[in-house]
């Protein structure tokens, strides 16, 4: 499975730095196009601040809608980085190496984007600072730590800080490399950022230890972030469709599903845009698709158990909510699309090696997963609210308004633009990981066959 293509260090350097040291022709156009959408998004937000949340499609009782859905969506995507980097690092999966950086980057930018959504969605965004930072000491009033909405910024803030550190530690050797290859202001920039990296063995040891420690420390945070987001919903006993004990693991596994799929999407784009065929190879897609089969199936099982147990009590509101979610127009259509795109198209497709090794097919199936995952959150949030308790007499519905759709587009463009900007200055594929994997790859002779193998350091007993 792992075809080893030996590349010299020089080849690795020139090929992987082609994004950071040279500007591909399409880059400028792409960034300008995305920047326009981002600007339009900011303008829309300003417009909404100026006129009020009435511009969204929300009502009573559907107080939360597409904006919160998108918030959950981006928090979900952010689970890519740690899943790929930390977990696979601790389990020593070799194939993680070329994708770690891009996955961590995706984590950072999607978290930043996610953090903006509660602000966009709030009624008075200009006062949101009250929410997070204690103010008004004279009256002794602090933020309400009992509120899951206070846990959220704490968890996401910790995750974001950790992810940035994680990204930075892994970037150090490559920064040193870039410093040695640039002149002028960029050289100054890289010199400062690389913190005097020169690659002696002490520095390598520290860098490795820091990476492993951060991986282990980030794992609980990784799990807690989406759990806490899920508790925004699950602790609300007033909304029957949300008050479910399975939410935390269910959201986390769903987040891993969408996050890893997003990494696949990004890998395909990286391979196409920067022509890194030597580094991002079909076997990497293959391994990710295998991982996705496990994750996707587990997630689907959780979905089914969730539905089973919500029907279990046979309470009127539960039934009304499920009826709306699964059988009523247009939710029924969304539900079918959600099932098909989130599970029934991609997961069975990945069982075929042809699909797993085909980059266009992997690209489209991974996009399909994320369409499904957005819909999943939407289908949890809106119908549950629309049919919450017996006293809800306004059995209205909800559809996202133009403003909300614009904000969703904005978030996509914002993440993409940031990734491209980053790629202009830093390598998206870690050079040192690539070199390390060549050191560790080996072969074993068994009889006449020669089998690819990896080297593992080992403590002596």
């Amino acid at each position: 499975m792992q075809q080893h293509r030996e590349l010299s260090e020089k080849q690795i350097n020139t090929q992987l730095l082609n994004g950071a040291l040279a500007t591909p022709g399409w880059w400028k156009f792409a960034v300008i196009g995305l920047a326009l959408i981002v600007l339009a998004g900011f303008a829309t937000f300003g417009f909404m601040v100026n006129s009020g949340i009435g511009l969204t499609g929300k009502s009573r009782p559907v107080f939360w809608g597409a904006l919160i859905t998108t918030f959950v969506f981006w928090v979900g995507i952010s689970h890519a980085g740690i899943m790929i980097s930390a977990i696979l690092r601790l389990t020593q999966a070799e194939w993680r190496r070329p994708v770690t950086r891009a996955a961590e980057l995706l984590t950072v930018f999607s978290l930043i984007t996610a953090l903006t959504f509660p602000i966009i969605h709030a009624g008075r965004p200009w006062r949101i600072i009250y929410w997070i930072i204690p103010y008004d000491f004279s009256r002794g009033i602090w933020p309400n730590v009992r509120s899951p909405l206070v846990w959220d910024p704490a968890a996401i803030g910790t995750y974001l800080t950790g992810s940035i550190l994680f990204l930075y530690v892994a970037l150090l050797p490559d920064l040193g490399n870039l410093r040695d290859r640039t002149i002028g202001w960029r050289n100054t920039l890289y010199s400062v950022l690389s913190l005097g990296w020169r690659g002696n063995s002490r520095q390598w040891r520290l860098q490795t230890t820091a990476g492993i420690l951060l991986s282990a420390l980030m794992l609980p945070i990784f799990v807690s972030v989406h759990s806490i987001v899920s508790w925004d919903f699950a602790v609300t006993s007033g909304v029957e469709g949300w008050h479910s004990t399975i939410f935390a693991p269910y959201f986390v596994i769903g987040a891993v599903h969408s996050g890893v799929a997003a990494v696949v999407t990004m890998m395909a784009l990286m391979r196409w845009l920067w022509k890194w065929d030597n580094f991002i190879r079909p076997e990497h897609f293959d391994a990710l698709a295998r991982l996705l089969i496990v994750v996707g199936t587990t997630w689907f099982a959780f979905t089914m158990i969730e539905i089973l147990y919500s029907l279990y009590s046979l309470e009127a509101q539960e039934l009304a909510f499920r009826d709306m979610q699964i059988f009523q127009w247009p939710w029924a259509l969304l539900f079918v699309i959600f099932l098909i795109t989130g599970f029934f198209i991609p997961v069975p497709a990945w069982f075929f090696k042809r699909v797993r090794n085909s980059i266009p097919l992997m690209f489209w199936t991974s996009i399909s997963v994320n369409i499904g995952m957005w819909l999943e959150r939407f289908l949890i949030i809106v119908p549950s609210l629309a049919r919450k308790q017996p006293f809800v007499y306004t059995w209205g519905s909800y559809h996202p308004s133009l403003v909300e759709i614009m904000m969703i587009l904005w978030s996509l463009a914002f993440v993409a633009m940031n990734m491209l900007l980053f790629a202009r200055f830093f390598p998206l594929v870690p050079l040192f990981e690539q070199k390390e994997s060549q050191v560790f790859s080996s072969k074993i002779k068994i009889g006449r066959a020669s089998v690819p193998a990896v080297l593992r350091e080992r403590e002596q007993e």
Binding site: S51, G52, R60, P61, G123, P125, N144, S147, G238, G396
Partner: protein
């Protein structure tokens, strides 16, 4: 003279709603609208499910025409002791005060609308737009009540401005608040005495007696354990009662 501290500790405001008396006239709804500066509900607002009614009269039909009966239940904020809307607010904009009321602080509210998701009684309202009144109505706004800006939640306050006034008056005269002295707008407007307001800490008040009535129950409290301070008195179906007694 009653010291302010004593005065505060001694109250726990509550309401009794005798469903048997309610005729569905909606006088309470209009009174509340006027007293508390609620924005004007236009037809559009109802279509968008964004209308404001701090108190509403729910109507239930029983039976088939012509043997049909209408039942009415006025529903307002239940001022739950164990309110699901309270712990979820990140900024303490909604909290429980020491007189058994669930209070909304408009100035603190940032508009996450989480409390509204938490409330099972569907009595919280969000200002999706800046409220506007026609020029001619500007002068009828109640000066005792804040006009809420866009982006904040609001709900029945038990007419806290009237409670304040009642207590201040009583304190000025150096006495306790008398039962029935403080009347929220809806209670005052009700022609059939369906709504009774008073101090649940005072065992002699009317509302305390009604609370201990055989017919008394609290909405959804059996399952949700919200411990509302609004007590409902069940309807007595005379035809059924007669049938039962032969």
């Amino acid at each position: 003279m009653v010291s302010p501290a004593q005065d505060v500790a001694s109250h726990s405001w509550g309401m009794a709603v005798d469903i048997d008396r309610c005729i569905g006239c909606q006088a309470c709804v209009v009174a509340c609208q006027a007293e508390n500066n609620l924005p004007i509900n236009e037809e559009d607002h109802f279509h968008q499910a964004r209308a404001f009614e701090w108190i509403r009269v729910e109507r239930y039909w029983e039976g088939e025409f012509p043997n049909i009966k209408a039942h009415f239940i006025p529903i307002l904020c239940q001022h739950c002791e164990n309110a699901p809307c309270e712990p979820v607010c990140p900024v303490y904009a909604t909290y429980h005060n020491d007189q058994g009321m669930n209070v909304q602080v408009y100035n603190r509210c940032v508009g996450t609308r989480y409390c509204a998701n938490g409330c099972p009684y569907h009595v919280r309202f969000f200002n999706y737009w800046e409220p506007v009144w026609p020029e001619s109505l500007r002068n009828q706004l109640n000066p005792d009540v804040t006009v809420r800006s866009r982006g904040v939640m609001e709900k029945c306050s038990f007419c806290i401005q009237r409670i304040r006034r009642g207590r201040i008056d009583a304190r000025k005269e150096g006495r306790q608040v008398r039962d029935g002295e403080i009347q929220p707008a809806c209670v005052q407007a009700c022609p059939t005495n369906t709504l009774v307001f008073g101090d649940l800490n005072d065992p002699t008040s009317r509302v305390s007696k009604l609370r201990n009535d055989r017919r008394s129950y609290r909405l959804l409290n059996d399952t949700l354990r919200t411990e509302p301070n609004v007590y409902y008195l069940a309807r007595v179906d005379t035809t059924e009662a007669e049938a039962a007694h032969g």
